[in-house]
């Protein structure tokens, strides 16, 4: 058997991975939409979609196909260029961030080492955070270009919310970077293996603050003010229809998957099984790391749905108060405590 040509290694496999990275979040989004509708229904004492396909699993597909064949309306007073580019910006910035999300340790196939990420960068974490912050441009472009009042208010709320909650996110991420001594997502997970403990258990405050801020960044309940239905109709995407609206809709869920992935990687050991260093539990390593990773992010995605099914919505001033009065001081104090303890111990 001859070794595959470099063409395969240099071109085909990366291409395959890029396609996979495009589809993995989309598949997760479909799963997430179905999960959300079923779980919220169960919380509310209903059944949820169960007619289309087995237990309604084809429901998101039917929705997607339908929405592709919907008319695309660009109203006359809209700024056409920005109106068209906004959904794409939101969608692709959240999909692009997935390039740097590692799904597991490299797999050896003969002499070739197949890495489970598209790109590994020494500044991967910064890139992911940056990309997720870029999507807010799409939101404000969309809100502004619609030239309508509710979308504009929704977009402004969204920008303020994302900007404020970037601060606690940055501060909590710093603690992780500080312990792992790396900004590379792969190295951060490895450092948790070497350090014998998940950072979420070591620094629970960081994990909780990051998660709350992450929920706020994704504009989800109880922080779903930018699209608060009872106030702002549909928020920044009020004027969008058809496929462009689908982009916003999908990006919303992709963003949730991204935040869940980040929580898992930064605080809950990525693809590592629980208690990775306990010899008695070594058999847990037999399960592929990818599955551990999936199970963990499913837990956090479920948490999103659970919160949505339970809590009312924050008011705008309370939302800002929560960030300035609680999360930012807390994350600052937490950061100082980590630094001090690290040097004292």
């Amino acid at each position: 058997m001859s070794a595959p040509s470099p063409f395969v290694f240099e071109f085909l496999i990366p291409l395959g991975k890029i396609v996979a990275v495009l589809f993995y979040p989309l598949v997760m989004v479909i799963v997430m939409i179905w999960l959300e509708r079923r779980v919220v229904a169960l919380i509310q004492g209903r059944l949820g979609p169960n007619r289309v396909g087995f237990e309604g699993v084809l429901q998101p597909i039917a929705d997607a196909v339908k929405i592709i064949f919907k008319e695309d309306i660009v109203q006359r007073q809209a700024d056409r260029f920005l109106f068209n580019i906004a959904p794409a910006l939101v969608m692709f910035s959240s999909l692009l961030a997935f390039c740097f999300i590692p799904l597991g340790e490299p797999i050896r196939i003969g002499a070739y080492e197949l890495t489970l990420w598209v790109a590994q960068s020494p500044v991967g974490l910064l890139f992911v955070l940056g990309m997720s912050a870029i999507s807010v441009f799409g939101v404000i472009f969309g809100g502004w270009a619609s030239n309508s009042k509710y979308p504009l208010m929704g977009a402004l709320r969204s920008v303020i919310q994302v900007l404020i909650y970037e601060i606690p996110i940055g501060l909590t991420v710093l603690t992780v970077v500080f312990l792992a001594r790396s900004v590379d997502l792969v190295e951060i997970v490895r450092a948790q293996l070497a350090g014998k403990v998940w950072y979420g258990l070591l620094m629970p405050v960081s994990a909780v603050v990051f998660w709350i801020s992450g929920v706020a960044e994704t504009n989800r309940a109880p922080f779903d003010l930018p699209e608060a239905e009872s106030e702002l109709v549909a928020g920044y995407h009020t004027e969008y229809s058809g496929f462009k609206f689908a982009f916003f809709y999908i990006a919303d869920y992709a963003h949730m998957v991204l935040v869940s992935s980040l929580v898992v990687i930064l605080f809950f050991g990525g693809w590592l099984p629980p208690f990775a260093n306990v010899p008695a539990l070594a058999f847990l390593h037999k399960v592929p790391g990818f599955l551990w990773y999936l199970a963990k992010i499913m837990f956090f995605l479920y948490l999103y749905v659970w919160i949505r099914g339970t809590l009312p919505r924050y008011r705008f001033d309370e939302l800002i108060k929560l960030a300035w009065k609680w999360l930012i001081p807390l994350s600052l104090a937490n950061f100082l405590a980590v630094v001090v303890l690290k040097y004292v111990l």
């Binding site: 979609p49 007619r51 289309v52 039917a62 339908k66 919907k70 549909a234 229809s241």
Partner: protein, 164 residues
């Protein structure tokens, strides 16, 4: 929908039609618009006992731009009629309208100076559901009837302008 083209429908397009209508009929996103009494029964249909979500119709959209189905639930007055019309026009094609309740069907028990005698005077209606108000079962029956209607359409005719 358009007039049927002459001759039989090509095989491939029939398959595509079936696929598209399958998606469309299983994913009506209703416009969250309630006018009067019937709106309460519409909400009751979304609640646990009747659960409209089983069919995938629970995503009541607040914005008409994202809705497929306009359930006119209640009395349409002359003051409200222009707004109903505008909401209909804001919805993207393909779109469907259900007149829920006797008021929307024909003005119901209000033959007065301020009530529009049937919403079909301002927008085209696909399905009429009688009742004052219709029970949730009635609303669901109307939706299933609409599903049958959508399943018999040929979206590709519109797309490829295959009508004369």
């Amino acid at each position: 929908m358009s007039k049927r083209p002459p001759g039989p429908q090509p095989f491939l397009l029939t398959k595509v039609d079936r696929f598209i209508t399958w998606a469309q009929k299983n994913s009506f996103w209703p416009l969250g618009s309630g006018l009067a009494c019937c709106a309460i029964e519409m909400i009751a249909t979304a609640a646990g006992r009747y659960d409209i979500a089983r069919f995938g119709f629970e995503l009541f959209r607040a914005s008409p731009r994202q809705a497929d189905l306009f359930i006119v639930a209640g009395t349409v007055t002359n003051k409200m009629a222009p707004i109903v019309r505008r909401l209909y026009e804001q919805m993207p094609e393909p779109k469907w309208v259900m007149a829920m309740g006797n008021c929307a069907v024909c003005g119901g028990p209000f033959p007065t100076y301020s009530v529009l005698q049937g919403v079909d005077k301002v927008i085209p209606v696909d399905v009429y559901v009688a009742g004052c108000p219709p029970t949730p079962e009635g609303l669901l029956h109307g939706l299933i009837t609409l599903q049958e209607k959508v399943a018999a359409t040929h979206p590709t005719n519109v797309m490829f302008k295959r009508h004369e």
